[in-house]
């Protein structure tokens, strides 16, 4: 079969047409799957929220103004969402903070739960790009995420000094710590008081 000659015009045309067709196909796939993907992300987020604050019954998202103030104090760690947790008794149960500290393979999406006393009640990693077998140890080493439990938001920098990283996964481990520290700072400087006052208005 005769093949078209590699003249400049034909080459540009071939690549251009291929890219156009492929972009069109991808647009349609993206549109078709977008809804379901968003739904799945929501489920994953919900699961992480429940994991970090097991005593909570429901979660309500905080306003964007709170989020903006949180970004000022988080020390460069992006904060994507803050939820006020409501316990089974209807009262304030704690805060869950979703943040994205930089890991070895880019931002690591995680949720940190803090109970009503400002103690870390759980850390859950939703999405990450860490090296399989090394960076992923932050999730597979049973004691690693456990060590953050009970860290005090009001003395988060002190707590952060005594922590064990994982050899071979130092950067990934530091990222998790950065996320917990950022969540602690946000709790201490922005959220403190917000939980209870709102809880009172709900009671009334």
């Amino acid at each position: 079969m005769d093949r078209v000659a590699s003249t400049p015009v034909r080459m540009v045309l071939a690549v251009l047409v291929t890219c156009l067709v492929s972009a069109t196909a991808l647009t349609f796939t993206y549109e078709a799957t977008r809804g379901r993907i968003a739904e799945q992300e929501k489920v994953a987020e919900e699961r992480a929220l429940r994991a970090v604050l097991s005593s909570a019954d429901s979660f309500e998202a905080m306003e964007t103004s709170v989020l903006e103030r949180a970004l000022d104090v988080s020390g460069g760690v992006p904060v994507a969402g803050i939820w006020r947790a409501i316990g089974t008794d209807g009262g304030f149960a704690g805060f869950a903070i979703r943040c994205a500290p930089r890991g070895y393979g880019g931002p690591m999406q995680m949720v940190v739960g803090l109970d009503r006393d400002g103690k870390v009640s759980g850390v859950s990693i939703i999405k990450h790009n860490e090296t399989p077998g090394l960076g992923t140890k932050i999730m597979t080493e049973p004691t690693f995420l456990q060590q953050f439990m009970g860290w005090d938001a009001f003395a988060i920098d002190v707590a952060a000094r005594g922590y064990d990283a994982i050899s071979g996964a130092t950067k990934s481990a530091h990222a998790v710590r950065a996320g917990v520290v950022a969540a602690g700072r946000v709790y201490q400087q922005v959220l403190v008081g917000l939980g209870d006052t709102k809880g009172v208005t709900i009671d009334e």
Partner: protein
């Protein structure tokens, strides 16, 4: 038909041509992940082979690689989005390996070596054969690694077979070195079978033309 069978036996991408190994060794620690990885590769390689073969007279030789890559990347992205939407758990397990199918030399290698020079009918057979050959080996590898390594095969949350309680799997099987060792045995087994079955017709272990000009 013979083109199709070559992908499964004497030209098996994994055990004979030894291309596309890194993804194989990485994801073959779980059976369900491996199965869907295999299906994803079958889809991508078949679809892109047919398309490239159909368009082969329209693709100028000097820009063939960019065109191949765009075509392959589009199919991979379609798989990526679909899996993300419908199989979130498998998608999370496979993680970066799904987008990395784009640079899997198996697919670009077959596009370059076969689909670009053969009619769509043969390209379809080659894509299916190569894809199935890949899927078969990766699933066999995963069945062994998951069963021996963790003592239990969990498929989509369902426990299929389980070792007795006292069983403690050797951890190395779940790690990369173990994958290499198990894979070595599979290669040895496949070579023995190929030799026996094709001793008369095909000289065993002849070199192939895939690597030439193909990616790493």
């Amino acid at each position: 038909m013979s083109v199709f069978r070559r992908g499964l036996s004497v030209d098996n991408p994994l055990t004979v041509l030894m291309i596309g190994l890194c993804a194989t060794l990485a994801v073959s620690s779980k059976v369900d992940g491996s199965l869907f990885m295999g299906l994803a590769v079958i889809f991508v390689i078949t679809a892109s082979s047919i398309l490239i073969s159909t368009l082969r007279s329209l693709i100028p030789e000097l820009v063939r690689i960019p065109v191949f890559i765009v075509i392959i990347a589009s199919f991979v992205t379609i798989v990526d989005l679909t899996m993300h939407a419908f199989l979130p758990d498998v998608y999370n397990f496979l993680g970066v390996w799904i987008p990395l199918i784009v640079v899997n030399c198996l697919i670009l290698g077959r596009a370059e070596a076969f689909a670009y020079h053969n009619p769509p009918r043969l390209a379809l057979a080659d894509g299916l054969g190569m894809g199935l050959g890949f899927a078969l080996v990766i699933v066999v590898l995963a069945v062994f690694r998951e069963f021996v390594g963790s003592g239990e095969i969990v498929f989509m949350g369902l426990s299929l077979v389980k070792m007795p309680e006292w069983y403690r799997g050797p951890g190395i099987v779940m790690l990369f070195p173990g994958a290499f060792i198990v894979f070595g045995f599979i290669v040895a087994g496949m070579t023995a079978i190929n030799r026996r079955m094709h001793a008369r017709t095909i000289q065993p272990m002849h070199s192939c033309t895939i690597e030439e000009g193909g990616p790493k």
